[in-house]
Amino acid sequence: MTATVGTPLARLEGPAKVTGAARYAAEYPQDDVVHGWIVQSPVPRGRLNAVLADPTADAIAVLWHGNAPRLEPADDPELDVLQSDRISYRGQPVALVVAETLEAARRAAQVLQLDITAEEHDAVLRADHPGLYTPEQVNPAFPSETASGDVDAALAAAPVTVDVTYSTPALHNSPMEPHATIARWAGDDLTLYDSNQHPSGIAATVAGVFGLEPERVHVVTEHVGGGFGSKGSARPNAVLAAMAARVVGRPVKLVLPRQAMFSLVGYRTPTIQQIRLGADPDGTLTAIDHAAIGQSSRILEYAEQTAVVTRHMYAAPNRRTGHRLLRLDMPTPRWMRAPGEAPGMAAFECALDELAEKLGIDPIELRVRNEPAAEPEGGTPFTSRHYVECLRTGAERFGWAGRDPRPRQRREGDWWIGTGVAGAIYPTMAQPSTARVRAVGDDFEVAIGAADLGTGARTILTQIAADALGVPVDRVRVRIGDSTLPKASVAGGSSGSASWGWAVTGACRQLRETGGDEAVFDTTELIEKQETEGRHAFGAHFAEVRVDAVTGEVRVSRLFGMYAAGRILNPRTARSQFLGGMIMGMGMALHEEGVLDPAMGEWMNHDLAGYHIPAHADVESIDAAWLDERDDQLNPMGSKGIGEIGIVGSPAAIVNAVWHATGVRVRDLPVRLDKLLCAD
């Protein structure tokens, strides 16, 4: 049998997706379905005293805290919807309207009058805010601060130093499919057709909120129109739909309007990051200090791990990382593709470029010079680390050699042209999951409650199972996207393939060894025994940009990513994921920003015309390649996660290239034309 893992098998759900047959959450036909529409708070802080429904509006029900069923308190207070009069951010759901039709629901929500007592609010993250504090941990459970050596003394003694502050704005995941739920009750059994990254987890969470046994909640998540972290746990739409369906006794469909997604489903926290570097004239780093500030809401502490990435990247004897957090009358930030790593490396890799400029050393050589032999903090050996090879091979393929290090040297017509580089890293993780395999005649059915958000999970798990069973892929049918299947971990942290593939491999091998009809494999014990340090994927990003001397507009002429990310299970879907991450990184570098109005406590550009994600025309020459790496210490496949590393480093490569083109260091992302135009 020739192995199928490592071959470019086309996505199994491809034909269904290109013909419109693939069903997403809001697309399951239901008899007697009614429509819900969320009413959001127009103030960032205050109390809702009453709602006044227009009697001429065709609403079946108007739910608010004054009449909504009581829920069990959730671990995530954001799910305690319509339980209190307290308004903690603008956009918080304060009522839900249910009507026979979508049109009627929307209108009834528009004319619903809210009696609100507004209070003073605070919406702006700033470095001198007295409310800043050091959280106990940062996402998910890292120490908030680390330190070794004497950073201040080393900085004072260093011949060359950089002390810069970078800021990144609020960013919005903006998957193309809005968060959506259809909820249907049959007695105490609840079915949710829900768009999420974790059917098993959503089922458990929603069951808890309604005081049900977990097995009474059935979550169906066959296809998901992207999530990028924003669908990693239950969002208010799931609970609200279930609540409304219980009240009206009919299935309820609830799709978040695009505008509501900006406040309701999480976002990437804005950050303010001070980075201080000390180096010897030969480029050897003597001190690294990365201090990050982020925000969270009043109702939940989410502390993003912005500076954690710096603990793993470069060697230096004196080092410090730390996080401070500010609670504001703003929505709760949450995971967005590479939380922590993306903004942390955007700032750090730009700061390193500034150091290279000061030292007069090529930015690649500077990175190579500070390559650590083991984890810079703690000294755990790396299971594999081919960062330098990524830089070297990537430089060769990109055509880095002979680059004039001086900025603002290359001009073609109206365009200033420059190139930039930045490193990338993403932790390799696996999380406990269970898979089941059954022999069905000559074929095999593999079942695991995983979710495919467009990652290719369904396809890759089929390949993994086929190889483990020693059969061709057409004899394997993989079932995912359903909470009644064996429990799987979240599709997040670039850990899906490793976590689920491990369980699938285990089940298939067991079936093969025992020769039975069915095998079930739970990876919990194996994973709990694993070391967690020293496990990362690495990469290097290279960008060539051109900047219009007339308008300041930036275009990315070339973007290239070179990765060492373990065994690539399917080069076709992997390449797409790498490129997708890099393109989102381009958005982070150049386009994306939640534009806050402090007085409103809202990002005013809360739609896809105001919040610019990259369009077709923004993406010119782009490619990804990878080293032949296999790391058998990690999991049976020898794979690392690839879903997020593309957005780690690609923003800095672009920002560094903009500097090289223009001589302008833009330290507050995104690099928009106004910042370049007015810098001269």
Binding site: G20, E100, F228, S576, A617
Partner: protein, 177 residues
């Protein structure tokens, strides 16, 4: 072929006749119903997607009398007698339209949610190219299907997964068929 289709709504209703994927339908509609909601909620044709509901993403793109449009901004009641083609009307898994085949051959999608809109848009776009219509990047005499042309002409369809680079060869392949 005519299929009657009646649904009761509060308020005033408007009679609308439409041909969708070659089938004639008659509706009594709430005049507020958009073409997109008509397709998705009333006809069960969920291929056309609702990404933003405001003409800012292109996921709802269908062909209206042969031209690509954003169905979320079209009132069904204003399209009396019009012919609508959705992704379901272009091809099937067994016999895909050349653009659908191009997307399959080149992995021109990831999550798939923008995909039907991308495909309908590409079909409409290729027809515009055939008619010699210009785009913002056209300079007379140039290839209307250069990479830059395809990207500009497809820019009304956002893809958050970033599958854009694979859609360009997918569309070019379809153009050659």
């Amino acid at each position: 072929m005519t299929r009657g289709f009646i649904r009761h709504f509060p308020g005033n209703l408007s009679e609308v006749k439409l041909i969708v994927n070659g089938v004639e339908y008659e509706f009594d509609l709430d005049p507020r119903t958009t073409l997109l909601d008509l397709l998705r909620e009333h006809l069960g044709l969920t291929g056309a997607k609702k990404g933003c509901d405001h003409g800012q993403c292109g996921a709802c793109t269908v062909l209206l009398d042969g031209r690509r449009v954003n169905s979320c901004l079209i009132l069904a009641v204003a399209q009396q007698g019009a012919e609508v083609t959705t992704v379901e009307g272009l091809g099937t898994a067994e016999r895909p339209h050349p653009v659908q085949r191009g997307f399959l051959d080149h992995d021109g999608f990831q999550c798939g949610y923008c995909t039907p809109g991308q495909i309908c848009s590409a079909v409409g776009m290729l027809d515009e190219v055939k008619q010699g219509r210009p785009s913002a990047v056209t300079t007379p005499g140039d290839d209307l299907l250069s990479d830059a042309e395809i990207r500009e002409r497809m820019s009304g369809n956002l893809c958050r997964c970033g599958a854009y680079p694979n859609m360009v060869p997918a569309i070019r392949q379809a153009a050659g068929e």
